[in-house]
């Protein structure tokens, strides 16, 4: 048997391996290029007090989460319990980025479901969302003491993600110098 006639089979075998790996991947998840980059800045009115503004600089020296949510987003509702429990552990401060929402709807939503955020900012035009590379709601960013984005969770945060990814990373980042 001549080896060259095995080439097509060999190429096909490689292809099958890649297709097999491909089955375990989600083609829709787009990793953020902002990981390990300084968080984009913005200055936006807070949801409950439009006169006051919030900017990521306010959180300098703290490890914190930016949770992008909206009242029109159904999977945010599922995520809300997990976010609330995470907030109750007191391990990490959570800022809400209320994305392309009506402030009244957003406030009602929080009144009904509880407010886990130390503050929510109102991004009605979605400009801040654009700068942060938000492409779907909910999304959650973890920012370290230096204001660098260290982790991004796409889609609703799950309890596994909190236990296995977010909390260990939060604890590690807290140990780092600011």
């Amino acid at each position: 048997m001549k080896k060259r006639f095995l080439i097509p089979f060999g190429l096909f075998a490689i292809l099958v391996v890649f297709l097999g790996i491909g089955l375990t991947l989600d083609p829709r998840e787009v990793p953020s290029p902002l990981i390990d980059k300084t968080a984009p800045t913005f200055e936006l009115p807070t949801l409950h007090n439009p006169a006051a503004t919030f900017t990521p600089q306010d959180m300098r020296g703290k490890v914190w989460l930016l949770n992008v949510w909206a009242s029109w987003c159904t999977s945010c509702r599922a995520e809300h319990l997990v976010i609330t429990d995470l907030a109750n552990t007191g391990e990490v401060a959570i800022i809400g980025l209320n994305y392309k929402d009506q402030p009244r709807d957003a406030i009602n939503w929080l009144d009904k479901l509880g407010n886990p955020y130390i503050a929510s900012v109102s991004d009605r035009q979605g400009r801040a969302g654009l700068d942060w590379g938000v492409y779907g709601v909910p999304e959650t960013f973890l920012i370290d003491k230096k204001g660098v984005i260290r982790y991004k969770h796409i889609g609703p945060v799950t309890r596994e993600a909190v236990a296995e990814k977010i909390l260990p990373l939060v604890r590690q980042l807290k140990g780092e110098a600011s």
Partner: protein
């Protein structure tokens, strides 16, 4: 009850397929003629049961049996009858059923039209097709049963994807499947020939008409799909390099290579190993396309984790079918001894070069389609590969193909001299250079080198083919069945010329404008003036919509009125139906956007697309060429002769 009958029929079809995949193959191997004889009745019985299963699902659609999950998910009572029927293959489960039905149609066709082929060979061919059928029916029964019942039947079904509610698309999938699955015949012949170690010119002759017909269906299917995308998606594009399109285009390219290489193998007994490999590739790419689309590795709507069973099943199936045949190939191809002699300047070389270019083109599409997956699997990052890439790579690879057309047809088998070739082609060469340049300079809105290149190539294909006809064909021969193969080549190649004209002029000289027009306002594009005369609400069978009225004038004279529609399907999907004035040299295309403000103003998109029809016209000509070639009397004569011998023997 009826869905259960369908389910039973599917299981019976599976048992027939199992029978068909085992006994005849073993019988052919051991020379047991009673086992060989099982092949045909088993295949025909399988078709019967598949037809029953398909009819049962169709019936469930027609009577709105929403207790069947698939029916409930893809139809409702307001859906027009045509779309109830096309709804049968409108989603995953039903399209698999159509796939399997198509396969058994092809298998039965083989049982009917292969009387000239030795019984043992046919038995192997049918056996191989039975194996594929087993895989597909198992896939359906285990992971995607179309007859699955719902515990709580809803009162009303959901809707067929509104995109599919279109006559063009109702017949597009069956056409395409006839093509895809049709390559299984050439594949089965190749495997059978390898199993029996009889890789000679005979198998090429047997599989040639089958390959031709499958290729014709695939061509028609792709043309239909492209035409549908053009008018239904509303954006005037005719090819998007979407992974799903690529999945159908790759088998087409390889199938085209196979058509040409089968000719050499049949006529000259050359390239046997290569032709077998192409036959395997053509069908493998059809299967791979099915995998890519069905498994969600490239185009998942939902994360794949929701249903991993399907992807794994198809991947294993792919591995067995393609991997197995490539292993068999590696064993048998080395036994082939080819001693056919030919020189560098010969028709053989021309056809091989055609094959290389087509295969490389298909390989680049595969590379582009899978590259994002490969990078992602390696963890190197996510990228997108889209039209800019494919256009950049594909066009330079296919230009030489058009150049080759003229030389390939004129070159003689075995050996030709450069001087003779040049003498024969001197006139078309010079004439096409002049005609192409002249067209690009004087008959286009403005000169571009791209247009010049395209038109020169189109004229070259046209004129070299015409002069070939003049040199080699007599006019009366068209009706003579014996030369249809050659006429097929002529028509097919003329299709390329027409196609190249269409692509060149449409892609370079199309104009497009998004504009806000108030009632009575108009917009001028070249010689054409579009006047918006308002839009009014209307109600369709399962949607509400607005119909716009746009009067078109050419150089001030009233030409036509277009009625673009915007529909809101009650299932919640908005759709546009473009208003198109089709013409041989240009299409005018208007799509209705959104109402803007209170004054009855709307946003509109207007296109002027020169020669866009030529793209599909070219495709249709190619298909016609394939059909002519398949009807060459050579193949029928053999069949008739064999039938006569059989009758005499009986």
């Amino acid at each position: 009850m009826i869905p259960e009958i369908g389910h039973m029929a599917l299981i019976l079809a599976l048992s027939m397929a199992l029978l068909q995949a085992t006994l005849p193959v073993i019988g052919a191997h051991r020379g047991i003629s009673s086992w060989i004889a099982v092949a045909k009745p088993a295949a025909q019985a399988q078709l019967l049961f598949m037809t029953i299963a398909f009819a049962c699902l169709t019936y469930a659609f027609l009577v709105h049996d929403f207790s069947v999950q698939y029916v409930a998910a893809n139809s409702n009572t307001a859906l027009p009858t045509l779309y109830l029927i096309s709804g049968v293959w409108g989603a995953h489960e039903g399209s698999l059923l159509l796939w399997a039905l198509t396969l058994s149609i092809w298998t039965t066709a083989v049982t009917l039209f292969s009387r000239s082929v030795p019984a043992a060979m046919v038995a192997r061919v049918i056996g191989v097709m039975g194996m594929i059928s087993v895989g597909f029916i198992l896939f359906m029964l285990f992971t995607s049963n179309p007859f699955e019942r719902l515990p709580m039947p809803p009162m009303e079904g959901r809707d067929l994807n509104p995109l599919l509610q279109d006559p063009g698309l109702a017949i597009h999938p069956p056409m395409l499947y006839m093509g895809y699955v049709g390559f299984s015949v050439a594949f089965a012949f190749a495997i059978a020939a390898m199993l029996s170690s009889r890789l000679d010119a005979a198998w090429a002759r047997w599989s040639r008409p089958w390959t031709n017909i499958a290729w014709v269906f695939l061509t028609l299917g792709i043309v239909l799909g492209s035409w549908w995308a053009y008018y239904e998606l509303g954006w005037g594009g005719w090819w998007f390099w979407d992974p799903v399109e690529n999945a159908s285009f790759m088998p087409w390219l390889i199938g085209t290579a196979l058509l040409h290489s089968l000719a050499v193998t049949e006529k000259r007994g050359a390239f046997k190993a290569w032709t077998v490999l192409l036959a395997i590739f053509a069908f493998s790419l059809s299967l791979l396309g099915t995998f890519l689309v069905r498994s969600g590795v490239l185009t998942s709507v939902h994360a794949f984790a929701t249903d991993p069973g399907r992807g794994i099943f198809i991947l294993i199936f792919l591995g067995v079918v393609i991997g197995g045949s490539l292993l068999l190939y590696s064993l048998r191809a080395s036994e082939i001894r080819s001693t056919v002699r030919f020189n560098l300047l010969s028709r053989e070389t021309g056809l091989l070069l055609n094959n290389v270019l087509l295969v490389v083109a298909a390989a680049s599409i595969l590379l582009g389609t899978l590259y994002p997956l490969i990078l992602d699997a390696l963890g190197v990052g996510k990228i997108s590969v889209g039209p800019p890439y494919f256009n950049n790579v594909f066009i330079p690879l296919t230009l030489p193909l058009a150049v080759l057309v003229g030389f390939g047809a004129f070159a003689r088998w075995r050996q030709d001299s450069a001087a003779t070739l040049l003498r024969q082609l001197r006139l078309p060469l010079v004439a096409s250079l002049f005609a192409g340049m002249a067209y690009a300079i004087w008959l286009t809105p403005y000169f571009t080198w791209g247009a010049a290149l395209g038109m020169v190539l189109a004229f070259w294909v046209l004129l070299s083919t015409m002069s070939w006809v003049k040199a080699h064909m007599k006019p009366g021969e068209l009706l003579n069945g014996a030369s249809r193969g050659r006429w097929g080549m002529v028509v097919g190649h003329l299709g390329i010329a027409v196609f190249v004209v269409g692509i060149t002029l449409t892609s370079i000289y199309s104009s497009e404008k998004d504009i806000r027009l108030e009632r009575g306002q108009s917009y001028s594009m070249g010689d054409f003036t579009f006047t918006f005369e308002g839009a009014s609400a209307f109600t369709g069978p399962n949607y509400d919509g607005y119909r716009g009225l746009v009067a078109v004038a050419e150089k001030g004279e009233a030409l036509t009125t277009l009625h673009p529609e915007k529909r809101n399907y009650r299932s919640g999907m908005p759709m546009t139906e473009a208003g198109i004035d089709a013409g041989l040299t240009r299409d005018l295309f208007v799509a209705l956007g959104e109402p803007l403000g209170q004054e009855g103003a709307w946003s509109l998109r207007i296109y002027h697309k020169p020669f866009v029809r030529w793209i599909w016209l070219g495709g249709l000509l190619m298909a016609l060429g394939g059909l002519l070639a398949a009807s060459d009397r050579r193949y029928f004569r053999l069949a008739k002769k064999a039938r006569k011998t059989m009758e005499q023997g009986a």
